[in-house]
C-alpha cells in the first residue's frame, strides 16, 4: 500500500519554462504570480485547467503557465473559452486579456458572456493603453489623454466602465484588484474560480513603458473598500460613486450558470427514422 502523501503543487509548478516577452516591471508579472498562487491554493490538477486568451501583452499568459492553453486571435478569447467549457464542463477554464482585447474588439463577447453566464473566470489586465502596438488609447483611456500619436487631441470619449457594464449585462461575480497587491488578487481569483458562472476580475495593471505614471498612481489611489454584496442595487449604487480605484469583491449574485449538455437519450438510428415516409 502506498502511504505517501500526494505532493502539493506549488505556485511555481503552474509556471512554464518560457520566458515572458514583457517589459521589466510589467504588472502582468504580478498577475501570473497571483494566478499561479490561486491555482496552488485550490490544488487544481494542471491537466484539468485550461487558460484561454486573445492577443496583446496580457494574452501571452497561457504560454507562461503550465496548464492547457489556447492563445487565439484578437478579442475572441471568451467565445473560445465558452465552447471549451460547454464541451468539457469538468475543466476549470480561465480567460486572460487586456482592456483593448476585452472591451474594444471583444466588447460584444464581453457583454454576452456576462449575460450567458458560462462558468468561466475572466481576468482583465487593464492599463488603459495598447502596449503591444506601441502606445495607443484603449477603451478605458481618459478622454483627454494625449500620449498617443494616433489620437493627439485625446480619444475624446468617456472611458468604458467595465464593471458597470458587466453588472448591467448580468455578470454574477465582479471584483477589482491591483497588480501592487498580488495576495489580494490571488484571493479574488480563488473566489472567482469557486463561483459558479461567469466571474470578472478587473486588475489595475500598470504599463511601465507607455503609462509609467500608473505605477505610483495605482499605489497611491487604490483603496480596498469593497466587501462583497449580494444586492444588485447596492452594487450599482457603489459603482455610480466609484472613483475607479476601489478594490475587493463587489458583487456575488446567484443566477444559475449556463447548463452543460444533457446526457444522450436517443440514438442516431431513432433520430434518422423520423425522416422516413
Amino acid at each position: 500500500m502506498n502511504t505517501t502523501e500526494p505532493t502539493r503543487l506549488t505556485p511555481k509548478q503552474y509556471k512554464s519554462d518560457i520566458k515572458p516577452v514583457w517589459c521589466k516591471g510589467c504588472g502582468d508579472f504580478s498577475v501570473i504570480a497571483a494566478i499561479t498562487r490561486g491555482l496552488s491554493q485550490l490544488q487544481l490538477p494542471r491537466e484539468n485547467v485550461a487558460f484561454v486568451s486573445g492577443i496583446g501583452c496580457s494574452s501571452r499568459i497561457p504560454a507562461y503557465s503550465a496548464v492547457y492553453g489556447f492563445h487565439g486571435v484578437h478579442g475572441r478569447a471568451l467565445p473560445i473559452a465558452t465552447g471549451l467549457k460547454l464541451a468539457r464542463p469538468e475543466l476549470t477554464v480561465l480567460v486572460a486579456g487586456g482592456d483593448g482585447d476585452g472591451f474594444s474588439i471583444g466588447g460584444n463577447h464581453f457583454m454576452h458572456s456576462c449575460r450567458r453566464n458560462v462558468d468561466l473566470t475572466y481576468v482583465v489586465m487593464d492599463n488603459s493603453v495598447y502596449g503591444m502596438t506601441k502606445g495607443q488609447a484603449s477603451p478605458t483611456t481618459a478622454s483627454d489623454w494625449t500620449g498617443s500619436k494616433l489620437t493627439p487631441e485625446g480619444p475624446g470619449m468617456p472611458p468604458f466602465r467595465p464593471l458597470e457594464i458587466a453588472l448591467s449585462a448580468g455578470a454574477n461575480f465582479i471584483s477589482r484588484a491591483t497588480a501592487n497587491d498580488p495576495n489580494g488578487m490571488a484571493e479574488q481569483i480563488v473566489e472567482a474560480i469557486r463561483h459558479p458562472g461567469f466571474s470578472l476580475v478587473h486588475v489595475l495593471c500598470p504599463c511601465v513603458t507607455y503609462r509609467p505614471e500608473q505605477q505610483e498612481l495605482f499605489k497611491a489611489r487604490a483603496h480596498a473598500d469593497w466587501q462583497s454584496t449580494t444586492e444588485r442595487a447596492e452594487a450599482m449604487h457603489r459603482l455610480a460613486d466609484d472613483d475607479g480605484y476601489t478594490t475587493g469583491i463587489l458583487y456575488q449574485g446567484d443566477r444559475p450558470a449556463f447548463m452543460p449538455p444533457p446526457e444522450p437519450r436517443a440514438t442516431l438510428e431513432q433520430i434518422e427514422t423520423e425522416f422516413r415516409i
Binding site: 494542471r46 465558452t82 465552447g83
Partner: protein, 575 residues
C-alpha cells in the same frame, strides 16, 4: 407518352400558403411512390412579397430542375414579374389562374402557354374558412392523377394538432378543387413510380440532410448565428443535438460562433458551425486560427447571391473564391461541396471525417437551391467514415504538440491528459507550440500543414464521375443534377459525355483530375457564378485540355439541362 417527371410551379404572394400547398403535394406524390424536389423562391419580405414553390415530381430521384414547367398554378399575380424568369414556360405548358385576380400578365401570356381559368377564391369561399391554397392542392391532385385519399391523409397528418373545424375547412377546400379540375388537361402524364420494393425513403430538406450528415460524422457541439439560407440546419440540430448529448449555442455573432467551436474542438468534441456568405466573411480570420493552431472544425456555408447582403433568399455558387482563398497568409485547408441534396448527408459526414483526421478546418459549400429545397430520396446508405484524431496520450518529458511528422499530422493532447499540457497557438510556433518568429520554425510548420493535406488518401470521394467520352462536363455543387441530366439526354442521342462533379475542391489534386480526363479532349466547365470562379480555380491548379469552354452565369435562375446540352453541342461543333 408517359413522362418520367413533371414540373409544376405554384406561385402567389407571400402568405398565401404556396409553400404549404407545395410541400403537401410532395408528400402526396411520395405516398403514391414517387420521388420529387421542391425548391423555394422567395423575395426578402417576411409577408406580402412574392413566393413560388418550384416542384418536380419523378418516377426516380429528382436532383435538378427541368428545362420548362409543365404547369404554373397562380394563386394570384402579385409581383409575378419579379420571378417569372425563374419559371420558364412554353406553348406546351398550361397556366391555371383565378379570373378574379385579373388577366394573365404579359410576362406569362407571352410564353404562349395555354390558359385555364379556375375560380380558386370563389371555390374556397364555398367552404367555411376555406383557403385558395388548399383548393389548389385539390386541383393539382386531380390534374396529376394523384389519389385524393392520399391528399386527405396528408392534410390530416399536417393538421393533427389543430382543431376539427380547421381540418374540415382544409379538406372541404381540397375536395372543391379536386372536383373543379376537369377543365385542365395535363400536358404530360407521369409514368408509374419505378422504385424498388422495400427501399426505405426519406423526405427532408437539404439543410436537414446536412444536419443528418453532421450527426453521422459525430458532431456534438454547434455554435452559430442565424442567417438565411443556413438557419434551417441550426433549427434541425438545435432539436436533435441535445437528444444525443450534444449542445447548440446561439452565439452573439459569427465571430463568436467560429471561436466557440474552435474552443469545443480544442476540448475534443467534433464541432460545426453553419452560415452563409456574409457570415463566412466574418469568420475567415478565425478559420486561419484553426489552420495555424490545427484545430478541426467544419464550417457549412450555404451559399446565396452575393456580394454583400446580395440576394439572401436565392441561390448562387459565388463563394468558391472566399472559401478557397479567403484566409490570409499561406493557409491550407479543405473545401468540399455536396453534389445533391442526398449527398449533403455524405459530404457533411465526410467533411467531419476529414477535419478530425487532418486536424484542420473544413469548409463545405452547400447552396440555397439545395439547402432550402425539400426532396424525397432513398435513405442514404450508412458509410463507415468517422475520423478519429491522432491523439497523444502518453506522458513525455517535452511533448511537441506541433511535432514535425512524416505525414504532417501531429499527435494532439486533449485537456485532461496529464503531463501533456501545452498551449495551442495562432502565432507561429516551434514544434512545442512556443511562439516563434524564426524562419526555420515558420518554414517547417508551413510545410507540415500543407503536407498533411496533400499526403492524405481521399479515396474515391474526391469526385462523382459518370459516363465516358471524349467530351467531359466539369462541374460542382447543386448544378451537378442538371449536368448529369444533360449528359444522360446527350447519351440517348448518341453523344458520349463524361461528367466529373468535384466534391473535394481544395486541396487541389491535379493527378486525380488528370486521370479522370484521360481520353478527354474537350471540356465544358459549368457553374453558377458570374466571374467563372470555378474555371479560374481549375486553370490555376489543374491541366485542362486546350479546348476548354465555360458555361457560367450567376444566380438566381437555375442552370437547366437544355442549356448545358446546347453548350456541349457548340463545343462538339467546334473544329
Amino acid at each position: 407518352m408517359d413522362s418520367t417527371s413533371i414540373s409544376i410551379a405554384l406561385s402567389g404572394s407571400g402568405g398565401t400558403g404556396v409553400m404549404t400547398a407545395g410541400s403537401l403535394l410532395l408528400d402526396v406524390a411520395a405516398r403514391a411512390g414517387y420521388y420529387g424536389l421542391m425548391t423555394r423562391t422567395l423575395g426578402p419580405q417576411i409577408r406580402g412579397g412574392e413566393a413560388a414553390a418550384l416542384m418536380r415530381l419523378g418516377v426516380a430521384e429528382v436532383t435538378g430542375p427541368d428545362d420548362t414547367y409543365h404547369v404554373l398554378l397562380a394563386l394570384d399575380w402579385g409581383n409575378i414579374e419579379r420571378f417569372a424568369a425563374e419559371i420558364p414556360l412554353n406553348a406546351e405548358s398550361i397556366v391555371i389562374s383565378d379570373p378574379a385576380h385579373g388577366p394573365v400578365p404579359e410576362v406569362i401570356a407571352s410564353t404562349g402557354a395555354r390558359l385555364v381559368e379556375i375560380p380558386l377564391g370563389a371555390l374556397a369561399a364555398t367552404v367555411a374558412n376555406g383557403r385558395p391554397n388548399m383548393v389548389a392542392l385539390g386541383v393539382l391532385t386531380a390534374l396529376l392523377g394523384l389519389n385524393l385519399e392520399h391528399t386527405t391523409a396528408v392534410v390530416a397528418a399536417e393538421l393533427a394538432d389543430r382543431d376539427d373545424e380547421t381540418l374540415a375547412a382544409s379538406l372541404g377546400a381540397v375536395q372543391a378543387g379536386f372536383s373543379a379540375a376537369d377543365p385542365c388537361v395535363c400536358p404530360v402524364t407521369l409514368a408509374p413510380p419505378a422504385r424498388a420494393a422495400g427501399t426505405p425513403r426519406w423526405a427532408l430538406s437539404g439543410n436537414e440532410a446536412t444536419g443528418a450528415g453532421a450527426l453521422r460524422g459525430g458532431v456534438r457541439f454547434v455554435a452559430a448565428y442565424p442567417i438565411t439560407p443556413a438557419t434551417d440546419i441550426l433549427e434541425y440540430l438545435a432539436v436533435h443535438l441535445p437528444r444525443l448529448g450534444g449542445a447548440l449555442v446561439q452565439a452573439e455573432d459569427e465571430l463568436a460562433s467560429i471561436n466557440m467551436i474552435l474552443g469545443s474542438s480544442f476540448g475534443g468534441t467534433p464541432s460545426l458551425t453553419a452560415t452563409s456568405g456574409p457570415g463566412l466573411a466574418l469568420m475567415t480570420e478565425s478559420i486561419g486560427l484553426g489552420i495555424a493552431a490545427e484545430v478541426p472544425v467544419v464550417i457549412c456555408n450555404v451559399m446565396r447571391g452575393g456580394p454583400s447582403t446580395g440576394i439572401p433568399t436565392k441561390s448562387e455558387q459565388s463563394d468558391l473564391n472566399i472559401a478557397i482563398h479567403g484566409v490570409h497568409g499561406d493557409a491550407p485547408h479543405v473545401v468540399t461541396a455536396p453534389t445533391s441534396i442526398s449527398d449533403c448527408v455524405f459530404t457533411t459526414q465526410w467533411s467531419v471525417h476529414l477535419a478530425e483526421c487532418l486536424q484542420v478546418p473544413v469548409i463545405t459549400l452547400s447552396d440555397q437551391a439545395m439547402g432550402q429545397a425539400r426532396t424525397v430520396i432513398d435513405a442514404p446508405a450508412i458509410v463507415p467514415l468517422n475520423g478519429q484524431r491522432k491523439l497523444a496520450t502518453t506522458t513525455v518529458e517535452h511533448y511537441e504538440r506541433y511535432e514535425v511528422t512524416a505525414d504532417g499530422i501531429s499527435p494532439m493532447a486533449l485537456p485532461g491528459t496529464p503531463g501533456l499540457e501545452y498551449t495551442a497557438d495562432g502565432l507561429e510556433h516551434s514544434p512545442r507550440g512556443t511562439p516563434s518568429t524564426q524562419a526555420a520554425h515558420h518554414q517547417e510548420q508551413l510545410d507540415k500543414r500543407q503536407r498533411k493535406l496533400l499526403q492524405f488518401d481521399y479515396g474515391p470521394f474526391w469526385a462523382d464521375i459518370a459516363g465516358d467520352g471524349d467530351i467531359a462536363i466539369l462541374t460542382w455543387g447543386s448544378v451537378t443534377g442538371a449536368a448529369m441530366e444533360a449528359a444522360e439526354r446527350l447519351r440517348k442521342g448518341g453523344v458520349a459525355v463524361k461528367v466529373i462533379a468535384m466534391r473535394l475542391l481544395s486541396p487541389a489534386l491535379p493527378d486525380r483530375l488528370a486521370d479522370a480526363l484521360v481520353g478527354v479532349d474537350r471540356v465544358l466547365v459549368v457553374e453558377q457564378s458570374h466571374s467563372q470562379q470555378f474555371l479560374h480555380y481549375l486553370r490555376g491548379h489543374f491541366a485542362l485540355p486546350a479546348r476548354t469552354r465555360t458555361h457560367a452565369r450567376p444566380g438566381p435562375v437555375s442552370i437547366r439541362p437544355a442549356e448545358i446540352m446546347a453548350a456541349v453541342d457548340d463545343l462538339f461543333q467546334e473544329a
